[in-house]
Each structure stands twice: as structure tokens, then as C-alpha cells.
């Protein structure tokens, strides 16, 4: 890449033809620009054009000054406190700040380009490496120091020093242990398995309203609800595992993958937590029965036990066994039979284990 040309001279350089390199230098017939007297490589600007440039720069600096004053004035003049006033304040503060900064930037650039001389100075480089004499000297000094310190000769000293350093090096790591409790088996359970305080099975309630759901009310095929466990509506740790999507089907729409014993009157509940990396998988298409996770687009067939039909998730969304209590409200009959959410090392083939325990 050659230097960029901003102002092309109107001279005898032949007109450019597409494909020819930009004529960035003096072309045929043009005399080289002679550096005026002074330091070679420092080419002063024409004083007349420098004076013209000075006026431009002064104007820009004045604009920057006024915009800076405007910024302070805007801070005082425009209060915040509702969204419209915040919008005005942002525009006034940001607009004046932008104007001030850019005027200053342009001004300085014009200053450099049109008032300061042009430079074509040359400086020598030197190899980074030191000469061999210096290297030799450093090497000797280093070895002598090691010898003098006795670190080489006194083996016991050396070994016990290393010994002393080892546990101290580990100490910071040990201190990190209390960052969190050990996982234990908590990843295998959700609050759906715990009965409520009065010993009843936990009800399913609507996310956002906390209303329990009467099975008879959730009666439109193609319906969906985002459901959370009663009593844990605002417990994010519980929700991160226990949130459900509740779907209503016509009975004939179910396929073999769905455990019909765990449904109630065409209502089926799946974990909303994607088995890939744990986003809430909740885009539901009632025509195709697809559940799509918006993060990485794993797609599950809700009519067929939420089996994966596309995308990176490797396992179906776990189904929660549901039923109704004596008042007709939907309840969890038990916890999920497999851990919900993303896979983890200790998980193992929980689906196979669940099948074994059942049979």
C-alpha cells in the first residue's frame, strides 16, 4: 500500500485507467519537490496556506468550546425522570459532547496536516540482540551470583526452599474451595418432588400470575402455559430446574414417545429447560407440535415425548408426571424421573436407569 492521496494534482500525469496503480508520486515529467533549507526531511508549509488553515482550526476549536459549554448547560437544563425527558437529555448531552470531541479532533488534524511541517525523517534501527560481549558478561555475572549465593552448592537449602514453596503455592487454590458447595445430588432433583408444607402434592401454577390451574379450564387444544411450582414462584434457583411448559392436546395427537400415564386429559407437562445448555425452550407451534429453543434451535416434538427432531440437543425434554387433586387442580404426581437441563459429567444414562427402575 502506498501513501494515500487526498488531493490529486491537476498536472500532466496521464488520466488514470482502471487497473493502474494510483499515481501516488511525482510522475513522468514532474520535477521532484525540493526540500527548502533547514533540516532535511522537514518540509515547512507555505505560510499563506498555514494562515488560512489557522483560521479554520480556530473556528473548529471555537465550536468545540461552545459545544463544551453547551454540554454543561444541557446537564443543568435537562432533567431526567421519565423516558421522554431521558431521551431529550441523552440527545442534548450526547450531541454536544460529540460535537465538541469531533470538532477538536478535526481541528487538530487540520493543524497537523496544514500547519505543521511535513516530515520525511529517517532513523536507524539497531538489531534487538545485544552484542556477544554483553551476553557473555551477563552470563558470567549470573553464574557468579548463583555461586556466591550458595544456592548451587547447598543442596539442602535448595531442596527445603522448594519444599516450603509448594504448599504456599497451593494455598490460594485451597482458599477457593468455599466458593460453592459440592454438587452432591441436587442436580438430580427438583422441587416438584417435595410435597407442600401441609403434605399435599405440589400444584402447578401459572408463571406471572401464580394462579393454580384447574384441568377443566385448560381446555383448548393447541394451548400452552408457562408453569412454575406453587410456593417457588420467585425462587430463581428452583425455577432454573422446575419450570414447565404445559400443553393441551387432542388425545389422538399423542405419539408413542409420550408417557400417557403421566398426562391428564390430553394435558402434558415437559421441562422448559433445554437439555442442550439450559435455555428455556418455549417456542411452541401448535400446528406442528414443535418446541423450539431460541438459543441454539434444538427442536423437540411435543406430541412424541419431546424427542429431539433437530438441533444440537441430544436428549428429549423430560416429562413430568401430572394429575389432579380433589379440587381439580393440576398437581405433580412425582418429581421428574431423570435430571432436567443440560448434561453433566456425573449424569450418566439416567434415562436407561429410569426405565430399569420402572420395569
Amino acid at each position: 500500500m502506498t501513501d494515500n492521496t487526498i488531493e490529486q494534482p491537476e498536472n500532466r500525469v496521464p488520466p488514470r485507467v482502471i487497473g493502474t496503480p494510483q499515481a501516488a508520486g511525482p510522475s513522468v515529467g514532474e520535477e521532484p519537490i525540493h526540500a527548502p533549507e533547514g533540516e532535511p526531511g522537514v518540509i515547512p508549509q507555505d505560510p499563506a496556506s498555514a494562515r488560512r488553515a489557522e483560521r479554520v482550526v480556530a473556528l473548529l476549536f471555537t465550536i468545540a468550546f461552545l459545544a463544551g459549554v453547551g454540554f454543561i448547560a444541557s446537564y443543568v437544563a435537562f432533567q431526567v425522570g421519565d423516558i421522554d425527558r431521558t431521551a431529550t437529555s441523552n440527545l442534548a448531552l450526547g450531541g454536544t459532547l460529540t460535537l465538541a470531541l469531533l470538532s477538536l479532533a478535526i481541528g487538530i488534524t487540520v493543524w497537523v496536516r496544514q500547519i505543521m511541517p511535513k516530515y520525511n525523517l529517517v532513523q536507524e534501527r539497531h538489531a534487538m540482540a545485544s552484542d556477544s560481549e554483553t551476553r557473555e558478561h551477563v552470563k558470567e555475572t549470573f553464574l557468579r551470583g548463583a555461586e556466591e549465593s550458595g544456592f548451587v552448592k547447598h543442596g539442602l537449602l535448595r531442596r527445603t526452599l522448594l519444599l516450603a514453596a509448594a504448599p504456599l503455592g497451593l494455598a490460594p487454590l485451597v482458599l477457593l474451595k468455599d466458593l460453592g458447595p459440592l454438587p452432591g445430588t441436587v442436580l438430580r432433583h427438583t422441587v416438584w418432588g417435595e410435597p407442600t408444607k401441609d403434605g399435599k402434592p405440589r400444584r402447578l401454577v401459572v408463571e406471572g400470575t401464580g394462579q393454580p390451574i384447574r384441568a377443566a379450564d385448560f381446555n383448548s387444544p393447541g394451548g400452552i402455559l408457562s408453569v412454575v411450582p406453587e410456593g417457588y414462584e420467585h425462587d430463581l434457583n428452583a425455577l432454573a430446574k422446575a419450570t414447565l411448559i404445559l400443553l393441551k392436546f387432542r388425545p389422538e395427537e399423542f405419539k408413542s414417545g409420550t408417557n400417557l400415564n403421566w398426562t391428564h386429559d390430553g394435558i402434558v407437562a415437559y421441562s422448559k429447560i433445554c437439555t442442550h445448555v439450559g435455555c428455556p425452550a418455549a417456542l411452541y407451534e401448535q400446528t406442528t407440535h414443535h418446541i423450539l429453543c431460541p438459543c441454539h434451535q434444538s427442536t423437540f416434538d411435543a406430541a412424541d415425548g419431546a424427542n429431539v427432531i433437530f438441533g444440537p440437543a441430544a436428549r428429549p425434554l423430560p416429562q413430568l408426571p401430572i394429575g389432579i387433586d380433589d379440587e381439580g387442580y393440576l398437581i405433580a404426581k412425582s418429581d421428574f424421573h431423570v435430571p432436567v437441563g443440560p448434561s453433566f459429567w456425573e449424569r450418566g444414562d439416567a434415562e436407561a436407569e429410569a426405565r430399569e427402575t420402572k420395569s
Binding site: 488534524t109 408457562s226 393441551k248
Partner: protein, 277 residues
Amino acid sequence: MIGTGISVNSTTARRRHPLARVAVVALALGLLGGGYALAAPNGSTADAAIASGKADDADQGKSLFVAHCASCHGMNAEGSSKAPTLIGVGAAAVDFQVSSGRMPMTDSGPQALRKPRPEWATEEAISQLAAYVQSLGGGPTIPGAEQVDPAKGDPARGGELFRANCIQCHNFTGSGGALTYGKHAPTLNPATPTEIYEAMITGPQAMPVFNDTTITPEQKRDMIAYITHVRQQVDPGGSGLMRIGPVTEGLVAWIAGIGLLALAAIWITAKRRRVKA
């Protein structure tokens, strides 16, 4: 503090008036049948209304249906290989689909898109068509004006329900999003409050149903209040960049940010050629 500042923008205002008329017609039908309950409208009362007297609308609607819908949905709305049955979808579904221009469907894409209504589809024609389809097998009715009035809803409460039920498909401000096989959840910006309500209770196309017994009409009105409030609210930080999140932000950072700074760098370092006198 919450209710104030909710004004209806010009688009919604223009639409609201004619739709209110439809609602008045529906209300009249309900009153004729006796016992139209505003808070919990249900199919059977409206059916009764149609059955009990105002059959003219339904008759008119039938001829409209035969002319414009029957080629796909069948002579008696029984459905065909091309289109589903309309028995039991209710007046709300008809009003939603026809008033938003989705029906009659002209192109055979993955889903019906919002478009300008055909000329015949006047407010009156839609209400007649709706009355006819309602007479076939009941179904959800068109909500009253009161029921979808954003000014009567609580946007903060509606926002919570909106985030729990809608944004996974329609995006956090209702800008829309992708679904499988070329389908997409449309933007909610052009939808009238009535259409939003109707979409929730009828579940058009791939959209699931949110019936009134699990998400109550008041809660739906709260959601409508949130949607309309947020869509007409200014973007205090400048251009909203389509309100779709980091994708457009990244594009702006590269194109505007790096672009402008590269230009600045070129200008700063450019050699000024001396024009030879």
C-alpha cells in the same frame, strides 16, 4: 403513574374506530340473545344471539363466504386438503384473519402474511362473515372495546405475562422472530389491540391458544397495555436499531464505528500533495 402517558398512536387510533363498530355489533347481538357478559364472553351466548334472531348477518356472511372463502375452506366450511375446517373457530378468528388481511390467502408461502385487505372486506362484510362462521359451531367471539382498551390495563403486570408467554416467539418488544421451516412469529407493531386479543384466544396458524380460563381477559388487557405502551414509547438512547438486540448493534459497531474511524485514520495519515503551480 402507570396509566398516564398511554396514548394511542395514529395507526391504532385510526383502526380503533371501525373496530369499535364491529364490537358494538357483537354487543348488540349479545344483548338480543340476552345475557351477554362483558367480562367473560363465551361462545354459547353469542350462538344464542345468532340463533335467536339476527340471522340476516349470517345469511349475508354465507354468500360472502361462498364467494371468497369456500374455494379452499369448502362450501360449508368443512375444510379441504388445502385449508382447515372453520367450524368452531369462532367470530374472533374470522375477524383476526380477515381484518389483518391474512385471509383470503393469496400466495402459498409457509404461512399467511399480513397484507392490505381486499376491497370487499369492509368492516361490515367482516362482521357478517364472522357472524356466519360463528353460527356454524360457536367458538371465541370478538372482544368488546372495553376489553382491549390499553388505558384500562396495567402495563407492568402485563409485562410479566408478556415475558412469560409471548417474547419467546415475538421477541422482547414484539419485533417478531424465526420459527421452523420458514415460518416466523410476526411483529406485533401493526396489530390492533383487538387483533392481539383475538390472536391469543384463537391461536392463528402456528400460534398456540391462550384461553380465557387460564389467562383471564383482564390479564390479556394488561398484556395489550404493555405491548401498546412499549411499542409507542421513544427509544431514549437514539435509534432503536430495529429493536432486535445485539445483531444490529454489532453491525453498527463495525460499519459505522470501525468504518468512520478507518476513514479518520486515512485522513490523518494521508500525504498532502503539493499542487504544482
